[in-house]
C-alpha cells in the first residue's frame, strides 16, 4: 500500500494537481473570509471562523472531484491498470493507497487555514476569546466530510475510463449526498417522528460535529459512507474477473 501511496503523492506533485488544489482552496477561502464585503470576519465582528466551514464543503465538491477523477480512469485508459494489477499487491492495497494519497493532499490544503484560527484568536477581544472546541470539532467534521468525498470520487473514477465523466459523476454524487437530503427533508412525505431523511445526508452530520460535540453516531455515519463507497470501488475493481 505504501508504494502506491507514495507513487500517487509524487504524481499529484509532479502534475501540479496538488499545488493547484491547495492554492485554489486557499485563495477562495481567503477571499471569502477576509475580503468579500458580505462575509468577511472583520466586518462581521464575531470571533469565529464559521464562514470557512460553510464554504469549504462546497469548494471541496469541485476540488476533490478534480483530485480523484484521474486516480483509476487514467490507469484504465493508458493500460497501466494491467501492469498495476499484475504486481503482487492486493486490490484493497491499491484502492487504499490511492484513497489515503488523495486525503493527504486535502489535509495539506486544510492545514494552512489554521493560520486563520490563529489570526482570529489574536484579534479577539479579549485576546484568545473564541470557542476552540467548536472550531476543532468543525475541523474534524471537515476532514470526515473530505474523506467521504474522496471515497465517492475514487468510486466515480473506477466506473469509467474517461476523466470528464468521472469528474461530473463525482461532483453530482458529492453534491447529492451533501445537500439534497436536507431539501428532501422539507417534504413532509419523508418525515416521521422516528425518521428524518436528512440523517442520510452529509450536511446533517457535518453540522452536528461542527458544534463541537463529537457524537459517535456522526462518526459512524461518515465511516459507513466511506466503507460503502470503498466497497463499491472494490466490487467494480474486480469487474474484469466477472
Amino acid at each position: 500500500m505504501l508504494s502506491i501511496y507514495l507513487k500517487e503523492i509524487r504524481s499529484f506533485l509532479s502534475s501540479l494537481i496538488a499545488i493547484i488544489v491547495i492554492v485554489v482552496f486557499l485563495i477562495a477561502n481567503g477571499l471569502y473570509i477576509w475580503v468579500f464585503k458580505e462575509t468577511n470576519i472583520l466586518d462581521y465582528g464575531y470571533a469565529n471562523i464559521d464562514p470557512l466551514f460553510e464554504l469549504a464543503p462546497i469548494i471541496f465538491i469541485f476540488l476533490i472531484s478534480a483530485i480523484t477523477m484521474r486516480s483509476f480512469s487514467e490507469e484504465k485508459k493508458t493500460g497501466t491498470f494491467e501492469t498495476l494489477t499484475t504486481k503482487p499487491i492486493s486490490d484493497m492495497a491499491i484502492i487504499l493507497g490511492k484513497f489515503f494519497a488523495a486525503i493527504t493532499v486535502v489535509l495539506f490544503s486544510i492545514l494552512p487555514t489554521l493560520l486563520y484560527y490563529y489570526t482570529v484568536k489574536e484579534l479577539a477581544l479579549p485576546k484568545g476569546n473564541l470557542d476552540t472546541g467548536a472550531i476543532m470539532g468543525s475541523y474534524l467534521g471537515l476532514i470526515f466530510l473530505a474523506a467521504g468525498y474522496v471515497s465517492i470520487g475514487i468510486f466515480s473514477s473506477i466506473i469509467t475510463d474517461n476523466q470528464i465523466v468521472s469528474f461530473i459523476v463525482s461532483m453530482f454524487l458529492c453534491f447529492f449526498i451533501y445537500l439534497s437530503f436536507d431539501y428532501l427533508n422539507s417534504f413532509s412525505l419523508f418525515k416521521s417522528n422516528y425518521f428524518s431523511v436528512e440523517w442520510l445526508g452529509i450536511n446533517f452530520h457535518y453540522r452536528n460535529i461542527s458544534r463541537g460535540v463529537v457524537d459517535t453516531r456522526n462518526i459512524i455515519y461518515f465511516l459507513s459512507l466511506i466503507i460503502i463507497f470503498i466497497s463499491l470501488t472494490k466490487i467494480k475493481f474486480n469487474s474484469r474477473k466477472w
Partner: protein, 300 residues
Amino acid sequence: MSIKVENLTKIYGKQKAVNNLSFEINSGEIVGFLGPNGAGKTTTMKILTCYIPPSAGRAFVNSMNVEEESIAVRKQIGYLPEHNPLYMDMYVKEYLQFVASCYDIKNKTKRVEDMIGLTGLQIEKNKKIGQLSKGYRQRVGLAQAMIHNPSVLILDEPTSGLDPNQIVEIRNLIKAIGQDKTVMLSTHIMQEVEAMCSRIMIINKGEIVANGSASELKLNQSNQVVVVVTFSQKVQNNAALNALGKVNQLDEKTFEIKSNLLEKDLKAAVFQFAVDNQLVIEELNTKNNSLEDIFKKVTQ
C-alpha cells in the same frame, strides 16, 4: 515445470477466446507463442499473469495455481503487456523505483541501477518516460518486467513497432536475460522466433495447432525437397529433367523440382543433368519450407 496449462477456456460473452488449451513449458525454455490476431495469445498470457481468471480449466506457474495463489504467482512472473503501458509523466528512474517498491527487493537503489545498466538506459535515465523513443520505452518495459529477477517472463509482442536495429537489440537483450529463465513471448515476426526460441507454439482460434522446435515443425510439414533452377538456355531434353522428380515449369528456363531425394543428392543430380545437356545453371535455390508457410498452412 514452469508453466502448466490444463484445459484452459476463456469465454468473453459468447465468443470463445481460448478453447480447451493445454500445454507445458519447462523451466529454462524460451517459447515463442504464435498465432494470427485474435487467436487467444494475449488472453492466455493475461490468465497466466493473474489479470483475468479463466472461464474453465486451470493454469499453474511454478506449480502454483494462478487463481488460488495469485499474489505468490505474481511475485514469480515478470510481465510486459501488449502496447507496453507506462506512466508517461514519471521519470525512468522514478518509475523503476516505484516498480521495485512493489516487490520485496532488498537493495532497491542498486537493483534499479543494475537494470538501467542491463537494458542500456544509462543515457536516458533522467528523462521522463513520455520523452523517450519507442525503443527506449520498450527497454523501460522490459526493465520493469525483470526488476525483481522473476523466474518466469511473459512478454506480449516485445518487439512490435520497433525499427530493425532496435528489434535486434531487444532480441539480444531478451536472449541474454532469458538464459536462466523461462520465457514465453508472443510475436508476429517469424525470423524472431527462429532466432530466439527453443520451441514454437502456434495457436489458432484458441487451440494449439503446432508445437515443437523450428526444425521439427519444418520437418513435420513435408519431407520433400524443393529446388528452383534457372538455366541459361532453353531446355531441350525435358524427359531427363522429368526423371529427377516432380517438375513444374515456371517459365521458359526456370523449373521447380520436387523430389524425395536428400537436398544435396537432388542438387548433384541437377548439376549432372546440366553437364550432360551442356547447359549452364544461372541460379539454383532450395526452396525452404519456411515458418511463414507453416504458419499459413496451420492457421487457415
